[in-house]
């Protein structure tokens, strides 16, 4: 990256490999702060809601949700798409920015990758449990020689989704773990307690940081980044195919793949921002997650927000241009139908609010960014609600129109996944380094991992 005078630095001046190592590993190795217990307890309590709902769901199946004909996909799928979308920013930050040699990613990539992993875990709950009878879902979803002699239907986008999401979960977990190995070795070497030594030692697998280790490691990291980049695009593309491959008006639009991917990045960066802003405050990590990071993320949010707005616009235009009665009614119903207010709210959250990010003043205000990020998170949830519910509840036949209201179990499932996500997040920030220590060491001495990684590219 070119040096630019009016940009804040990616790390506050004065750090050395030793101080970086000590400061970041101290977060893990020092005594647990009291607020952590409070935060974890609240999250864990919310996660219990998930387990209760799942227990109920296993007995009574999806009848406890508000779904019915015609809206057979309700907020379970809304939440799935929302969570998966949030996960995307993590991969994007670590993979694409690694390929583009953006040094600023270093201090947030670990944390963003963890977010990816936990968001995918939360999303997986919906995929797993919306099938109603999970023990049967195994043969619906995975190709194995079962006793029926049948195989999954590979022409269905839902099967593509199974492969995309499970590949995504596997690769993000591997990418995250590989990134952690040198830092686990650091913790192994710093830990005072025998239990920590053994645990981190086993996870570090005997990492020694030899020249050979680093060389293979960098090559593997870069290749993983190169693989993860098209993967992350493919995942939300496949999610968009879940809808677009069908012929429901409001779903069947060719713009869906890029527009969904942009939306995923948009909400993902919003979530990184929502989490990173309080985190840097409470851990005192402002020197590592600097204003530069927040500004860059704000710019990416603005860009992806504009793409999403483009998607909304082109849908309206094409519905009119097509001259197709059903497409036109879909738009009419989306704006003026019973769920019209949600659409309006969505425009406020997703199209209007991010326009403030054009202003440098807003991009420099931590509080302002925090609020915008939360609003965008809400807006992206509403977008999926509009796409799924509004398109389904009035399709071709007026005789089969209906309304959809989520039940309290729908909501408890959603709140439960939030609890699961934050519980995992709390465990992560307590027991693993939230910032990649070895990469920060490199930055302080000018041995940029990215710069070098770029050079070992095959």
């Amino acid at each position: 990256m070119s040096a630019n005078a009016d940009r804040p630095p990616v790390i506050a001046p004065g750090y050395t490999p030793a101080t970086v190592t000590d400061k970041i590993s101290a977060v893990v190795l020092n005594k647990t702060p009291r607020w952590w217990y409070v935060g974890f307890a609240i999250s864990f309590l919310a996660a219990q809601l998930l387990f209760i709902t799942i227990a109920k769901l296993l007995v009574l199946t999806v009848g406890i949700w508000g779904i019915n004909i015609p809206v057979a996909w309700g907020i379970d799928i809304v939440n799935f798409v929302w969570w998966i979308g949030i996960g995307h920013a993590g991969t994007l930050i670590s993979a694409i920015l690694l390929l583009l040699r953006q040094t600023w990613r270093t201090s947030i990539n670990r944390f963003a990758e963890a977010m990816t992993l936990f968001a995918v875990a939360a999303a997986a709950q919906f995929v797993l449990f919306h099938t109603g009878r999970q023990w049967l879902a195994v043969y619906w979803l995975f190709p194995y020689p079962n006793t029926m002699g049948v195989w999954p239907q590979f022409r269905s986008p839902l099967m593509w989704d199974v492969f995309a999401v499970s590949t995504y979960a596997t690769i993000s977990a591997l990418f995250w773990f590989v990134g952690l190995i040198p830092d686990l070795a650091t913790l192994r070497d710093r830990s005072k307690h025998w239990f920590g030594k053994i645990t981190y030692g086993m996870l570090a697998m005997g990492w020694r940081g030899s020249a050979r280790h680093w060389h293979n490691y960098e090559t593997a990291s870069l290749l993983l980044a190169g693989l993860a980049t098209p993967l992350v695009v493919s995942v939300h593309t496949v999610v968009s195919f879940d809808f677009a491959v069908g012929i429901i008006p409001g779903w069947h639009a060719t713009i869906f793949p890029p527009y969904f991917v942009a939306g995923a990045i948009y909400s993902g960066f919003a979530m990184v921002m929502t989490l990173a802003i309080p985190l840097r405050k409470v851990f005192g990590l402002e020197d590592f997650i600097t204003m530069r990071h927040l500004q860059n993320m704000a710019k990416i949010m603005l860009a992806t927000g504009l793409i999403v707005a483009y998607g909304y616009g082109i849908e309206l235009f094409m519905a009119w241009y097509s001259g197709n009665t059903f497409e036109q009614y879909m738009i009419h119903n989306r704006i003026l139908g019973p769920y019209g207010w949600i659409w309006l709210l969505l425009l406020l959250c997703n199209v209007l609010t991010p326009q403030f990010l054009w202003l440098k003043k807003v991009r420099n205000s931590v509080l302002g960014l925090f609020f915008i990020s939360i609003i965008v998170n809400i807006g992206m949830w509403l977008e999926r609600f509009v796409i799924i519910v509004t398109s389904l509840h009035r399709d071709f036949l007026p005789s089969s129109w209906g309304m959809y209201t989520p039940t309290r179990w729908d909501w408890s499932f959603f709140v439960g996944t939030l609890g699961l996500f934050f519980s995992l997040m709390f465990l992560f920030i307590r027991f693993l380094p939230v910032i990649s220590i070895f990469e920060m060491r490199g930055i302080t001495t000018g041995h940029d991992f990215e710069e070098q990684a770029g050079e070992v590219k095959p």
Partner: protein, 218 residues
């Protein structure tokens, strides 16, 4: 820094990675064995009946035709469980005071049917029709086995879908002439040619049609 781990952990660590692969594979393999075992399918398992009816005796010993008792097999979806009256036709004369047959007589007296237990219990979402199978040339023995050798009746096949599908894919391997449908001992000299001819003669639908979901699940 001193050593945290003993030298032997190197071997253990590597072994555990391979071990995980083998354990996972082993679990999958065991699950598939269990799934296809009689424990799950009831294949070959006899069911306790109110009266210990013996097909071996009635079919092989006495030579009674299947249709004497299962009288709807050519005309309806169900082959038909004989009413008590069918039993009494003979058993009013033979073994008419056997204590073993007391439930039959009681049923006849009271008019309350015998509570026969199902041996072949197909899943509810399978639409199975005996008559079409008989009409197209599938013999009893293909699905029910040598009932003439069964002292007590047991489920002959696994009844898992892969078993159904195996025949629906290659029906010519099992087809037989109309007059041999109820013959449990008959076997073709050249099943391959015969089966192909019969498939044409009986207008069997294509494999694709026969393996369509809606053929059995409606």
């Amino acid at each position: 820094m001193s050593q945290i781990f003993n030298r032997s952990t190197n071997a253990i660590a590597r072994l555990s990675i391979w071990g995980a692969v083998f354990i996972l594979g082993g679990v999958g393999w065991a699950a598939s064995i269990l799934n296809r075992s009689a424990y799950n399918t009831n294949q070959g398992v006899t069911v306790k009946q109110p009266v210990p009816f013996g097909h071996e005796h009635h079919v092989a010993g006495l030579g009674i035709d299947c249709r004497y008792c299962h009288s709807f097999v050519e005309k309806s979806a169900s082959a038909g469980i004989p009413p008590t009256a069918t039993c009494i036709n003979c058993h009013k004369l033979i073994w008419s005071d056997s204590p073993m047959l007391e439930p039959v007589r009681e049923s006849f007296r009271t008019g309350k049917p015998l509570n026969w237990r199902k041996v072949y219990d197909l899943p509810d979402f399978v639409y199975f029709d005996h008559s079409i199978h008989v009409a197209k040339g599938v013999g009893c023995v293909s699905c029910h086995g040598r009932v003439d050798k069964m002292r007590l009746t047991a489920q002959f096949p696994s009844l898992q879908m892969e078993w159904c599908i195996a025949c629906h894919r290659n029906p010519e391997k099992f087809l037989r002439p109309k007059d041999r449908i109820f013959d449990l001992t008959w076997a073709a000299a050249d099943q391959e040619t015969l089966g192909r001819d019969l498939a044409k003669q009986n207008h069997l639908r294509s494999t694709v049609a026969l393996t369509n979901c809606s053929t059995c699940h409606r």
